[in-house]
């Protein structure tokens, strides 16, 4: 009695395993028939690329923020020193006008004022340099913007592909024509990885290449 029961449950297990096996095969075949395997592969391929691109965006934006903040930290003390020195000189001049003393005694004040006037354009130009650097740091927006636009195109393509698979496999539905756009291999946006063959990493390499072309 017991052995028959064991035999039965073993047979049940076998049957269950083979049913699961059949279902798995059926599922895999349906996925392949539906064309989903291609779409899934596209998504799978897109993910590491997307991660690299997002990393590039994170890197570029944080670099830009860093650059701008560094400039602010350099420029603000310069402005503070101008303001402090001129305030101090003004106070001394005010005192002199209240109670003018002999020129010989005022000479120090005159000398200090001349030194300040001499120094001011230098400080102003140092501040200007920092402002320029802050401006240049904004170039990240163009670069990350291009990368994000490329990513949006990619997501749109995957979405189209998945919709196409659905449409193709829905009876009685109009066939949407999703034309695969020809790859525009000259429009890639910023290079995320500059060690890839065929990519110029620096302006010097661009110049070298142009030189070989007779520029």
């Amino acid at each position: 009695m017991n052995t028959t029961q064991n035999q039965q449950s073993a047979d049940n297990f076998k049957e269950i395993f083979s049913r699961i096996g059949q279902l798995t095969r059926l599922l895999r075949d349906s996925v392949a028939n539906l064309g989903l395997d291609r779409a899934i592969m596209d998504v799978a391929e897109a993910i590491p690329d997307t991660r690299d691109r997002l990393n590039y965006v994170v890197g570029k934006t944080s670099q830009a923020a860093d650059r701008a903040l560094t400039c602010v930290e350099i420029a603000r003390p310069l402005q503070d020193s101008l303001s402090e020195e001129s305030t101090a000189l003004k106070a001394r001049w005010d005192a002199w006008f209240e109670a003018p003393v002999e020129l010989s005694q005022a000479r120090e004040l005159v000398n200090d004022t001349r030194a300040f006037l001499d120094n001011t354009p230098k400080i102003a130009s140092q501040t200007n340099e920092q402002l320029m650097e802050i401006m240049m740091a904004q170039d990240f927006q163009d670069l990350t913007g291009q990368v994000i636009q490329n990513m949006m195109k990619l997501i749109e393509n995957v979405e189209h592909e998945l919709i196409q698979v659905l449409v193709e496999n829905m009876p009685g539905m109009m066939q949407l024509s999703v034309s695969d756009e020809p790859a525009e291999n000259l429009k890639n946006g910023p290079q995320i990885n500059q060690s890839v063959a065929g990519v110029v990493a620096t302006q010097d390499q661009v110049d070298d290449l142009l030189e070989t072309l007779g520029f």
Binding site: M132, Q138, F140, D142, Q146, L186, Q203, V206, F215
Partner: protein, 129 residues
């Protein structure tokens, strides 16, 4: 030394980059700077008034920088205007294609103020400006 009254057209679909290039040009003393947001817009502006120098991005909607360059070189009234490409496109094919289409210079983004100045001066020198 190039004439500070030269009229520049700066073409980029990103307003930030147009402003950066405009500011850099102003810093170099060039105050006559106009902007266009893509190649199509640029062609319209180039055909409507006189420009002496074009600085163009590559990857733009409607008409890209290479197409703009090609159109300009086909047009008798525009073909003599120097074109400096300033672009993030950094493949060898890009640089070769731009050179073959008749670009006068190629600056890869991100670039420095010094690089832009150097490339501009190089073009001015070649043109004897």
């Amino acid at each position: 030394m190039a004439d500070k009254n030269l009229r520049f057209l700066v073409i980029d679909d990103f307003a930030t980059m147009r402003r950066i290039v405009r500011n850099l040009l102003q810093d170099l003393g060039f105050k006559n700077v106009e902007e266009a947001e893509d190649g199509q817009d640029a062609l319209t502006k180039l055909r409507a008034s006189r420009f002496d120098f074009v600085i163009s991005d590559w990857n733009m909607p409607n008409l890209d920088g290479l197409q703009l360059l090609t159109e300009m070189r086909k047009d008798d009234s525009l073909k003599a205007i120097p074109v400096l490409m300033v672009t993030a496109e950094a493949k060898k094919e890009n640089i070769i294609a731009a050179a073959q289409a008749g670009a006068n210079g190629y600056v890869v983004k991100p670039f420095t103020a010094a690089t832009l100045e150097e490339k501009l001066n190089k073009i001015f020198e070649k043109l004897g400006w």
